[in-house]
Amino acid sequence: MNDVTLILDAIARGEGHASEELLPLVYDELRRQAAAHMAGEAGGQTLQPTALVHEAWLRLVQEDSRTWQNRAHFFRTAALAMRRILVDRARHKRSLKGGGSLEKVWIEGMDLAGVTAEDQVLLVDQCLGRLEQEDPESARVINLKFFCGLTNGEVASILNVSERSVDRQWAYAKTRLFEIIREEI
C-alpha cells in the first residue's frame, strides 16, 4: 500500500486531516510530471492538465482503492494542485513577457475579444474564491472542468451525478463566474 492509497482510505474512513496530506503528494507528482513533459517536448511545450491528472491517478493510486469516493477525492485534490500549477505557470509566462519581449506588459484589466490563456487562468483563479463562497458546488465544477480538463462524463462519475446534470451545472458555473470576473475588473 502506498502513501496516497493509505491517505485515501483514511479519508474514506472519515479522518478529516488526511485530506491535507493528500494535496502535497499529488501536487508534487503533478509538478514533477509537468516539468518532465515540458523538458521532453521540443518547441511546443504544451501543458495538458487532463493527461497529467490521469497519469497521476494511475501512478499514485493502487487498483483496489479506486472506488468512486476515492476517485472523487483524488480528482478534487488534483484539481486544486493543477490550479496552483497552472496559475504559477501563467504568472511566470506573464512576467517573462513583461521582462523579455519588452512589448507587452500585463495590465490589470480585461478585454473580451481575445483573452490569452494566461489571462484566462489568472482571472479565473482570482475570482474563483468569490464563487466558492457563494456557491461551492459550482466552484467545484469549475475546478474539475477548467483546471483538470475533465470531460462532463468524467466529472459526472467523480461527483456521482448524471452527465446532463454536469452539462447544466457547468453552463451555470461558467456564466456566473464570468459575471463575477466582469464585476471584479
Binding site: 518547441g43 501543458l47 501563467a90 521582462g99 478585454d111 457563494e134 458546488e137 477548467f146 456564466t175
Partner: protein
C-alpha cells in the same frame, strides 16, 4: 448559497436546456410568475452566457511555451500579407456602430482592436478602447487628452482619428485609421533600401512630427514600432501611430499632473532622451522628440541603436540614467567599424551597399547630423524637426550641411572617464574608452574583464531588467504592471537599489487592502535589509508598514515574530522618533507582560522626550509620544495611567484626526476594562464614522498607516464591548 441565488441557478439551468428563444420565454413566463426581479436576473445570466462561453472556449489546457505565439509588435498594424481577420466564434462584441473583429495589441492605457464600421461604409478601422485600471478617472482623462491631441492633427503621415465615443458601460474609445503596414526598420531592411531611400522616408516622418509640434503636441515615444510604412498605390508612406502618450502643450490640455508616459515607453529606453530618463518625463519639450528621431535615424542608417535597451535596463535605474546623460555613443560610421565582419556584411546587404562603401557614406555629414540630433544637451540639438529635415535634404542635394563635427576641445571635455560603455547588441565589446582626437576614434577593448562581466551579468541580467522596468513603471503609476513583473524575484537578487520598488508596491497593495500581497512585498523589503546589512534600507516607518499589514492580513503568528525581532533590533536606538513608533507597532494586538517589559527601554526614552516637550514645535511630536505610552500602559493593564496619558496626548496634539480617533479608542478600551461599558460603547459609536471614512477618503499619496491603526483598534474595542 442564498435562496434567491439558488432559485436563479435552477431557473437558469432549466432555461438553458431550451434552445428555442420562444420556448425559453414561455418557460420564464410560467416559472417566474409575478417576480420580475428574479426574471431579470435570469435573463441577465442568459444574456451573459454567450460571452461566458466564448471566454471559456479557449481552454487553458494548452498553455503554450514562450517561443510560440504571434508577434504583435505594432499597434494597429496588420501585416501586408493577405489579411484574414479571424472573427471569434459566436457573437462578437459590438461597440456603437463598430464590430470588433480581433485584438491587435495593447499599450498605453488601452487595447487596440481591428473593427469593422457598420453600413454604409463597412470599412476596417482600428478601435482603441480604454482598459479599466485602478485610477479609472485618471486613465480616462489621459485617454481623453489623447483623443483631443489626435483630433488636432491632419497630416498624411499621421494616422487619422475618425471617431470617438463611449461604450454603454462608460468606457471611452477612439476610432482611428487602420494602418496596414510594417515597422519602418523592418520595411527598410526587408526591402534592402539604400541610405538615400531611407533618408527620404525619414524626412517624411520629420514632416509629420513637425506638424504635430506645430499643433502643440509632443509625441514622446518615437520608435520604430510606432512608425509604420504602408503602401498606398504602390508608394511607401510612413505613418506615425500611437500618440497615446502624447502631451499637448497648448490649450486646455496642458496639465502636467495628468499626463505621464506609459509603459510601452518603458520597454525601449534606447529611445529615451536624457531629459526624459532623468525627470521621468516632466520637463520635456519638442527637442526630446528630436533626440528620439536622432536615435531612429541612427538605427535606420546602421541597423543598431546607439545603446542596447536590455543592457540599459540591466544596469539599473541610476546607471541607466547616467548612461543616457553622460556616455557618448560612437557615431554611426564608427559603430559599423566595430562590428564583426559577418554582422557588417549582413547589414550592408540590407542597405543595398557593400560594407566599405556603407561606412564611408555615413562618415562625415551623416555622422554629424545624427550626432547633432542626439546631443545630450538639448540646447545643442536642432531646434526644430524641420531643421533636421532640411539638413538631411541638403545632404541629399549635395549641399553643405549645417551640422559640424564637435570641436576638439568640446570633445575632450566630453571624454569618458569611466571604463564601461553600454554598447549596441551584437558586439563583444563591453568596456571601451573613447578618445576623440581629430576625426577618428579608437576603442580600447578590455576583453577578459568584459567576458567575466558578461557571465555574471547574463545570470543577473533578466531580474535586474525587470526590476528596473518595474521602477520605471512605478514612476508612471503603473502599479499592477510593476507588481506582476517582479513576482517571484528572490530578495537576494533585488539588492539595495530596488528596495523602494518593494516598498512602493507594498503600499499600493495596502491602499487597496490586499494585505496578503502587501505582506509579501514588505517581507522582501526586510529581507533586502537583512541581506545587505544596511539599516538604511528599512526604517521605522517600514516597521509600521509591515507590522500593520501582518495584523490586517490575519497573520498573527507572523506579527508576533515580527514585533519581537523589531524590538530586539531597535532597543538600543537613540532616536526617540523611532522609539515611539516601535512601541505602537509592537502593541497592535495584546501582548504578554514579558514582551511589554522588553519595551521598557524604548518607553523610557519616549517618556523622557515627553518631559522635554515644552517648545511648541515639539508639541505635536510629543502628542504622538504620549499616545504610544498610553497604548503601552493599556496593554500593561494600567488603565488609569492609560487614560491619563490619553488626556495628555490630547492636550499636546489635537488636530490630527487619525491620532484623535486612535486615542479615543484606547480610551474606550480602558474604560471598558474598568467596567464602564456604557461609556466605552458611546465612545465607540462616536468614532465609528470617522474610522470607517479614513481608508476611503485617503488619497493615494497619503500614508495608509494613519487610517489603519484606528481601524485595528476599533475592531478590538468593538469585540471587547460585546462580551
Amino acid at each position: 448559497m442564498t435562496q434567491s441565488r439558488q432559485i436563479e441557478k435552477e431557473l437558469f439551468e432549466s432555461a438553458i436546456e431550451l434552445a428555442e428563444p420562444s420556448a425559453r420565454t414561455a418557460f420564464l413566463n410560467k416559472a417566474c410568475g409575478g417576480n420580475p426581479d428574479i426574471r431579470n436576473r435570469v435573463e441577465k445570466l442568459l444574456a451573459v452566457h454567450a460571452s461566458a462561453e466564448e471566454f471559456f472556449s479557449g481552454s487553458p489546457v494548452h498553455l503554450t511555451g514562450v517561443t510560440a505565439g504571434p508577434d504583435l509588435t505594432s499597434l494597429m498594424a496588420v501585416p501586408p500579407v493577405r489579411n484574414s481577420a479571424v472573427a471569434p466564434e459566436g457573437p462578437s462584441a459590438v461597440i456603437g456602430r463598430y464590430t470588433l473583429l480581433r485584438r491587435l495589441g495593447e499599450g498605453g492605457c488601452g487595447v487596440v482592436y481591428e473593427a469593422e464600421q457598420g453600413p454604409p461604409l463597412r470599412r476596417r478601422v482600428a478601435l482603441k478602447i480604454i482598459r479599466l485600471g485602478m485610477d479609472t478617472e485618471k486613465v480616462i482623462a489621459r485617454f481623453e487628452a489623447e483623443r483631443q491631441a489626435l483630433a488636432l492633427m491632419a497630416h498624411p503621415s499621421i494616422a487619422h482619428v475618425l471617431d470617438a465615443g463611449a461604450t454603454e458601460s462608460g468606457r471611452p474609445y477612439i476610432v482611428m485609421e487602420l494602418v496596414h503596414g510594417v515597422k519602418i526598420t523592418d520595411y527598410c531592411d526587408h526591402n534592402h533600401l539604400g541610405t538615400r531611400q531611407r533618408l527620404e522616408l525619414f524626412i517624411q516622418i520629420c514632416h509629420a512630427i513637425q506638424h504635430a509640434h506645430q499643433k502643440g503636441v509632443i509625441h514622446r515615444d518615437i520608435k520604430p514600432s510606432n512608425i509604420l510604412v504602408a503602401l498606398e498605390n504602390g508608394v511607401p508612406i510612413p505613418k506615425v501611430i500611437d500618440f497615446g502618450i502624447a502631451k499637448a502643450t497648448e490649450g486646455r490640455l496642458a496639465d502636467n499632473t495628468l499626463y505621464t508616459a506609459v509603459q510601452q515607453f518603458v520597454g525601449t529606453p534606447a529611445y529615451m532622451s536624457p531629459e526624459q530618463a532623468d525627470s521621468s518625463g516632466l520637463d520635456v519639450d519638442t527637442r526630446s522628440d528630436i533626440y528620439s528621431l536622432g536615435v531612429l535615424l541612427y538605427e535606420l542608417l546602421t541597423g543598431q541603436t546607439p545603446f542596447d535597451s536590455n543592457k540599459l535596463l540591466e544596469s539599473g535605474m541610476i546607471e541607466m540614467c547616467r548612461t543616457l546623460r553622460e556616455i557618448e555613443p560612437p557615431p554611426p560610421s564608427t559603430l559599423l567599424t566595430t562590428l564583426g565582419n559577418t554582422r557588417l556584411a549582413a547589414i550592408a546587404v540590407q542597405h543595398h551597399a557593400e560594407s566599405g562603401h556603407l561606412i564611408s557614406s555615413l562618415r562625415g555629414d551623416l555622422d554629424w547630423i545624427v550626432m547633432k540630433a542626439m546631443e545630450k544637451d538639448r540646447g545643442r540639438r536642432y531646434e526644430t524637426v524641420n531643421g533636421l529635415a532640411l539638413d538631411l535634404q541638403r545632404y541629399l542635394d549635395h549641399e553643405p550641411v549645417l551640422a559640424r563635427p564637435q570641436s576638439r576641445i568640446y570633445r575632450l571635455q566630453k571624454m569618458v572617464r569611466r571604463n564601461r560603455v553600454v554598447f549596441a547588441a551584437g558586439t563583444a565589446v563591453v568596456a571601451a574608452l573613447i578618445i576623440g582626437l581629430g576625426t577618428s576614434t579608437w576603442l580600447f577593448v578590455r576583453e577578459r574583464e568584459a567576458r567575466r562581466e558578461q557571465v555574471r551579468l547574463r545570470l543577473e541580467g533578466e531580474n535586474r531588467q525587470k526590476l528596473t522596468q518595474a521602477m520605471l513603471l512605478l514612476t508612471r503609476d503603473q502599479f499592477a504592471a510593476a507588481d506582476q513583473l517582479i513576482h517571484g524575484i528572490p530578495a537576494a537578487e533585488a539588492g539595495l537599489e530596488y528596495a523602494a520598488v518593494y516598498r512602493t508596491l507594498g503600499d499600493w497593495h495596502a491602499d487597496h487592502e490586499r494585505w496578503q500581497q502587501a505582506c509579501t512585498r514588505y517581507a522582501v523589503l526586510f529581507q533586502i535589509g537583512a541581506l545587505t546589512k544596511r539599516e538604511v534600507t528599512t526604517n521605522s516607518l517600514d516597521c509600521l508598514r509591515y507590522g500593520a499589514a501582518l495584523v490586517e492580513a490575519g497573520d498573527l503568528a507572523g506579527y508576533d515574530r515580527f514585533r519581537r525581532s523589531v524590538i530586539a533590533c531597535y532597543t538600543n536606538s537613540p532616536e526617540v522618533v523611532w522609539a515611539e513608533r516601535i512601541i505602537k507597532v509592537s502593541l497592535l494586538t495584546p501582548a504578554d507582560s514579558a514582551l511589554i517589559r522588553t519595551l521598557d527601554p524604548l518607553a523610557r526614552l519616549t517618556a523622557e522626550s515627553l518631559e522635554q516637550s515644552e517648545p511648541p514645535a515639539n508639541r505635536g511630536a510629543a502628542g504622538f509620544c504620549a499616545f504610544s505610552l498610553a497604548l503601552m500602559k493599556f496593554r500593561d493593564g494600567d488603565y488609569h495611567a492609560a487614560l491619563a496619558m490619553c488626556e495628555r496626548s490630547e492636550k499636546l496634539e489635537s488636530s490630527n484626526i487619525e491620532l484623535a480617533a486612535s486615542r479615543n479608542l484606547v480610551r474606550a478600551m480602558a474604560q471598558a476594562r474598568l467596567g464602564r461599558i456604557e461609556q466605552a460603547r458611546a465612545e465607540l459609536a462616536r468614532n465609528r464614522e470617522a474610522v470607517e471614512g479614513f481608508h476611503h477618503n485617503k488619497t493615494p499619496y497619503e500614508f495608509w498607516w494613519d487610517g489603519v491603526l484606528p481601524k485595528i483598534l476599533w475592531r478590538e474595542a468593538a469585540a471587547m464591548v460585546k462580551e
